[in-house]
């Protein structure tokens, strides 16, 4: 039977990805025009990832929590710069959720989750204009 810790981490990751989809749909509207293409690509990536995690959960004989209609944004979004700041937090939360999956998972899933963490870290760095040494590590829930 699947490790319950892994199931909890996967459900949290699915929630993080759903929140990211919502966050991009709200913050994306406030971004500078030159940033919208990047945001659109990221939005698509998060949407695709929700489906991937649903498959992971199915393999673990579990189902994600239903997608909420509205999520809490990590910080208020009023203009382009606050939109970018919110997207940094969203990507950091996503990376942290994958870090929890990695800690609980075995090889193939761990690898896929690590690739997803890398992509979240890259997007966070793009919105932040710089990298941080340990993306996703501070925000781990430690499930």
């Amino acid at each position: 039977m699947t490790d319950p810790r892994l199931v909890r981490a996967l459900i949290a990751a699915a929630a993080a990805e759903n929140a990211a989809v919502y966050g991009y749909s709200v913050a994306g509207a406030r971004l500078a025009a030159s940033d919208k293409g990047v945001a659109r690509t990221a939005y698509d990536a998060h949407r695709a990832q929700t489906l991937v995690i649903t498959q992971w959960l199915a393999q673990a004989s579990a189902t994600p929590d239903p997608d909420a209609p509205v999520y809490q944004l990590p910080s208020p979004v009023t203009d382009a710069s606050s939109a970018r700041a919110a997207l940094v937090s969203i990507e950091e939360s996503t990376a942290a959720a994958y870090a929890d999956v990695i800690a609980a998972a075995d090889a193939p899933l761990r690898r896929d989750a690590a690739l997803a963490l890398q992509l979240a870290a890259v997007r966070a760095a793009i919105w932040r204009d710089r990298a941080v040494p340990f993306p996703g590590l501070a925000g781990r829930l430690g499930l």
Binding site: A32, A33, S34, D35, G37, V38, T41, A95, Y98, A99, D100, I102, A103, A104, A107, R110, R111, A113, A114, L115, L117, Q118, L119, A120, A121, V122, A124, A125, I126, D129, R130, A131, V132, P133, F134, P135, G136, L137, A138, R140, G142
Partner: protein, 216 residues
């Protein structure tokens, strides 16, 4: 900032695609890719001031503080011991990366600030992998570059243009990010999360180095 920033961001995204593809391709070849510009080990009597302690000769220099090195995370899960061979392999790779940035900073003092910020991330990685490690400080831009230094690794000839240096470092970061995926395979849970996070940082470096080094 908008116009130029958008262009560089676009190139960053292209790099990201390349990085992802390369990470995928490099996955199975694992750690042997991780030490491209391996630093000369401590055999030379006159080591340049910024060189990194070789694995076998962990320096006992009295607290040579690393400038601008962010505090290592206090998260207990970010602690690893070098007794773990997986952490050791990753630390070797990180050491080579620090050395590559040392070389680049010596070759391009004008980029020292931007390069130093990225180097500091790798120093933080090393410290997380081995909390006891003491590193030499980064090369000081204004210092007289020691002409007696032994030949640099072939990957970074002194006359390399800025663009070539950025390309080389981007390649190293991409390979490192891929190598962390390999390191992770045999690690315990919390070490795997640490290695994955380090790989995330390296993927982010690969995607943003062009922007970071192009900005004033």
């Amino acid at each position: 900032m908008p116009k130029e920033a958008s262009l560089t961001r676009r190139s960053a995204l292209q790099l990201l695609v390349l990085a992802a593809a390369s990470a995928t391709a490099g996955c199975r070849s694992g750690t042997q890719q991780a030490t491209p510009a391996a630093p000369a080990t401590g055999a030379t009597p006159s080591r340049p001031p910024g060189s990194v302690a070789a694995p076998s000769t962990r320096t006992t220099a009295p607290a040579a503080s690393t400038p601008a090195a962010p505090a290592t995370t206090t998260n207990a899960s970010a602690r690893a011991t070098l007794a773990d061979p997986t952490a050791q392999a990753a630390a070797t790779s990180e050491r080579a990366l620090v050395a590559a940035y040392d070389d680049a900073m010596r070759a391009h003092p004008d980029l020292a600030t931007a390069l130093g910020a990225v180097r500091a991330d790798h120093v933080a990685h090393l410290k997380a992998l081995n909390p006891d490690l003491v590193l030499s400080p980064a090369p000081v831009p204004s210092s007289t570059g020691s002409p007696t230094a032994p030949a640099s690794p072939p990957a970074s000839p002194p006359a390399a243009t800025v663009l070539a240096v950025v390309a080389m470092l981007t390649d190293l970061e991409t390979r490192a990010a891929a190598a962390r995926l390999g390191d992770m395979a045999t690690a315990t849970g919390s070490l795997a999360a640490l290695l994955a996070s380090i790989g995330g940082c390296e993927a982010a470096h690969a995607a943003t180095l062009v922007t970071a080094l192009a900005s004033p």
